[in-house]
Symmetry: C2
């Protein structure tokens, strides 16, 4: 940590990268973490090395567009959709990228000559919320990502929880209904089979296919957001789905709060773009609990629940937060 003998380092640009199975989103920032350039490109998942090449290309193109030379890149942060070893810089299992024990950190460092820090994408997005979407500087915060799956990132006392395998917060695989639908994980009735974006769409599709009189029959594409909008417009079929999912989520988020004693729950992902309409049925379930329970009145405060800032890509900005945190420690 000694500074002696070092010349002042002119390399002050940081790159955050969110790696998804479909797109890669970059965010280049300056030393003050101000946005300089962002870019979204398609992910080539046809082979593990081509996925890496997509990422390298996205980084290069972002630097080019900003007129920043590669030598000026101080560090790279990455959010990886899977289990990672952040110390070794290895992506352990990222199913959608076909990466098994893939040394992504080492590879990118070899290309760009800059240190590379990685973490699971939901945990990275949680760092993004903590650093860039946290006006009250809350130190006990849970981010819950609602997508194909459901997962939580947990910050307690200002520190990201990892657990033994970096899987702390896998609340999408909480078994909620032992006799429920099969989950991708092989169990039955996991939370994500009931409340994920995929689950909302599946319930809507089933209603349409069973001949329900609903505007969802004409929705193209049939998304979770469309279901929330139809419910808000008074569609009965959509309302039934939205209320059922909201009650389930209200209970699940109570359980999240009991597990971590968090002071803020921040929701993100596709269906949350419905905004207040997304929160309403969750709050209805909390209100129902509060009618009989002092504990629910003490622990479940509507003000603690909100949706992540939709104007910011939390994956890419979280990768910026990750790398900023690490480079602050390093310099």
């Amino acid at each position: 940590m000694s500074e002696s003998g070092r010349s002042p380092n002119p390399q002050r640009w940081l790159m955050g990268v969110d790696i998804g199975g479909t797109t890669i989103v970059t965010q280049l920032v300056d030393a003050g973490l101000r946005p300089v350039q962002e870019l979204t490109v398609a992910t080539d998942v046809s082979s593990p090395d081509r996925t890496l090449a997509s990422i390298a290309s996205a980084i290069e193109r972002t630097l080019e567009a900003a007129g920043v030379p590669v030598e000026a890149l101080a560090a790279i942060g990455l959010g990886v959709p899977g289990q990672v070893d952040p110390v070794q810089g290895i992506s352990r299992i990222a199913v959608n990228l076909h990466w098994i024990d893939y040394p992504v950190g080492e590879r990118l460092t070899a290309i760009f000559g800059a240190p590379c820090f990685l973490e699971n994408d939901v945990r990275v997005a949680t760092l993004g919320v903590y650093r860039f979407d946290n006006p009250e500087a809350c130190q006990n915060l849970v981010y819950v990502s609602m997508g194909t799956g459901v997962a939580a990132g947990v910050i307690l006392e200002g520190k990201l929880l990892r657990g033994r395998n970096g899987l702390a917060g896998e609340v999408g695989h909480w078994i909620v209904d032992p006799n429920g639908l099969p989950c991708n994980c092989g169990a039955r009735g996991c939370l994500e089979t009931l409340v994920s974006a995929t689950a909302v769409v599946r319930q809507a599709r089933a209603a349409v296919e069973s001949g329900a009189d609903t505007v969802l029959a004409a929705a193209a594409p049939l998304t979770a957001k469309a279901v929330y909008e139809a419910a808000a417009a008074g569609d009965l079929t959509a309302s039934v789905i939205v209320n059922r999912v909201g009650a389930e989520l209200g209970r699940a988020l109570r359980n999240v709060i009991m597990a971590y004693d968090a002071e803020a729950i921040v929701l993100g992902g596709g269906p949350t773009r419905a905004g207040a309409r997304y929160l309403a049925p969750i709050l209805t379930e909390w209100q129902r609990q509060q009618e009989t329970s002092p504990l629910a009145r003490a622990m479940l405060r509507p003000a603690m629940l909100r949706i992540a800032d939709p104007a910011r890509n939390m994956g890419a900005w979280g990768a910026v937060a990750l790398v900023a945190q690490q480079t602050t420690l390093a310099t």
Copy 2:
């Protein structure tokens, strides 16, 4: 933290105290944390101050029995059955002791002239397991206490989780069955209504009252341990209860593991005195999940589940661990 001007401190005895609604258990240890004297006395809960007097008397009698002068007491650790403010030394809410915002730390320090550290009793017991019942020096550990209620203490990366209100780990109030029985917290179907010692006894009593042909009809007293013993002896009614509770617990502990990514789950409290008989139906549920789920095979390993050492009072020893941790920091 400066040591200048201090004379070497000859006071090296530490006192751990577990405060229950029925009994107070003390554990006096020497500087090497070796047991010197222990004592169990009844708790006088007839008023907040009498509860404190019970504790003070228990400490005095323990010192007397060991022939240790009060001046030689370096510090006191306390496990309090409720919500505490460990920084201020205040017991916020301890319903069974009738303590509301009671300054227990200040009071005991005034009596004994020694610093006093307190924490919630389940979290204290968790520290006890972590320090004194942890042969593999596991750093990610969850202790689950099965009693009148159910609660967990969580240690991740060697550090006790507290959360915002010191309530992290309140898994007993996870809603598991939204249409289930009313819980003391005012909600319905909380985990503890299904799997606590009280819940096991309630299910057994209901079976007896409905006229079931079971040895439990003659059990006096009818305890959770008796139900597990009857099941092991082949009693059908007891087996049905034990298997139902075990399946529920197997799912709940899966959910605990998904929440914290712990590497060890340690169970304690009355019903766990049934030993391997207590664990068997939990492991059966895990095995059932593993038949279809790679995630369950990866995350739920039988070796990670065990019962806390019944030979050690984890509450009192945990209070020793708490105070040892604090005084190590202070000296």
